[in-house]
Symmetry: C2
Subunit: 207 residues, 2 copies
DNA sequence: GGGGCGATACTGACCGTTCCGTTCTAAGTG
DNA sequence: CACTTAGAACGGAACGGTCAGTATCGCCCC
């Protein structure tokens, strides 16, 4: 499982405590809240999502939620990111290496629960400022940065052309699966991500 | 401008009135509501959007809004669809014909106002059942159906391969621009849609 | 005279915040 | 090593304000 960025806790992050007095924040409360949040997200969508319901379902206080996250949107994104497994090793084949980057998203989206949770998290990221920053930070760290390394290497080996825009490639890789998750609400087929990276290589392949 | 599906009015559509007595529904009220809705969407996003604000800004009654649309989500989608211009004639070049289908979306998204409105409409379509149906109905009529004709013709002429899935092509064409609009909140470059159709032709072009 | 209209009001739910009383823990004292 | 104490996190409850969706007014126009 992923350990996301902890969404910039409003308080100065519990780990960074120096000379604190009271008890540390309860990780068990946090994970109970995240689990309850995922269930509420899947059941009620983004606009119908309520903090009160999450608190009640997790037997937690709303104040505890706001201690951990600056906004409900950030919590939603964190809850979804926890469903995304770590990326597998990429091997040597160019398509395999690119696919490996986005296959965790496909894996999370291919369960009924993950599909709904990820959909709401994407809505939160698009609608809520804090949530958007958390999500884009994750994309930057887990997708954009490794992708840049791979593409630079492929371009150096003349496997792909050099005239690509990194952000455009990200749109081409992530856009289709997100569109299917959110707008179409259609299931994600096995191999969907592999198809996207194959399409990219056909688009930008040398020659 | 587009004249959307009128979102399946809860009441049997004012035009279809037969032997009515009272006055017809006021189109001026309707367009004032849609204009107010666009402004509220751009300012407050999807979760922060409120019917009361729209009614107040349009000097209309909430009851009037619910007479025209079954849900606020459907109204949001209608408001955004009105910003999408009609598709231009496609010419003969395959890429040009495909680009012509999606260029209206790009055109609407390239203004600051349209960018924000379209973003919220997409969130509504993904989060609200009614809104999603209105949106997908528009996609089916203005994108999917003409695209199917074009692709069938191109496949017959051996310009593209035959082993494509129509829905996958739609994801590839629409996904990137929607991702940029919603998640990235980044401006849409001139020629973005042309690049997508070029990428499609490179992906499925017959060897 | 019936139906669309603006205006108002109402119910139930929710948001974000604030206040409790309790519990737990690190720092300080002897 | 006890033992105290200050401070923080906790569940729970309550708050003022907002909102969705419905209902009910008169008004006015077809």
């Amino acid at each position: 499982m992923n350990t996301p960025t902890d969404a910039q806790n409003p308080a100065p992050a519990p780990a960074a405590a120096k000379s604190r007095k009271g008890p540390t924040r309860s990780e068990v409360s946090k994970s109970a809240i995240l689990e309850a949040a995922r269930e509420e997200m899947a059941e009620n969508g983004w606009r119908g999502f309520s903090v009160d319901s999450v608190a009640k379902r997790a037997s937690a206080s709303k104040q505890t939620i706001y201690r951990w996250w600056p906004s409900i949107g950030a919590m939603c994104v964190d809850a979804a990111l926890a469903l995304i497994p770590d990326a597998p090793e990429g091997g040597r084949d160019p398509q395999e290496r690119i696919t490996a980057l986005i296959i965790p998203l496909e894996a999370a989206a291919r369960t009924g629960h993950g599909h709904a949770v990820l959909r709401v998290a994407l809505l939160a990221a698009a609608d809520d400022k804090d949530a958007g920053e958390v999500w884009r930070a994750w994309v930057g760290r887990d997708i954009r940065q490794p992708l840049r390394m791979i593409l630079a290497e492929l371009a150096a080996k003349r496997v792909i052309r050099r005239d690509f825009e990194l952000d455009d490639v990200i749109e081409q890789l992530l856009g289709p699966i997100f569109h299917r998750l959110t707008i179409m609400r259609a299931p994600v087929k096995d191999g969907f991500c592999a198809d996207q990276s194959a399409a990219f290589l056909r688009t930008y392949g040398a020659i």
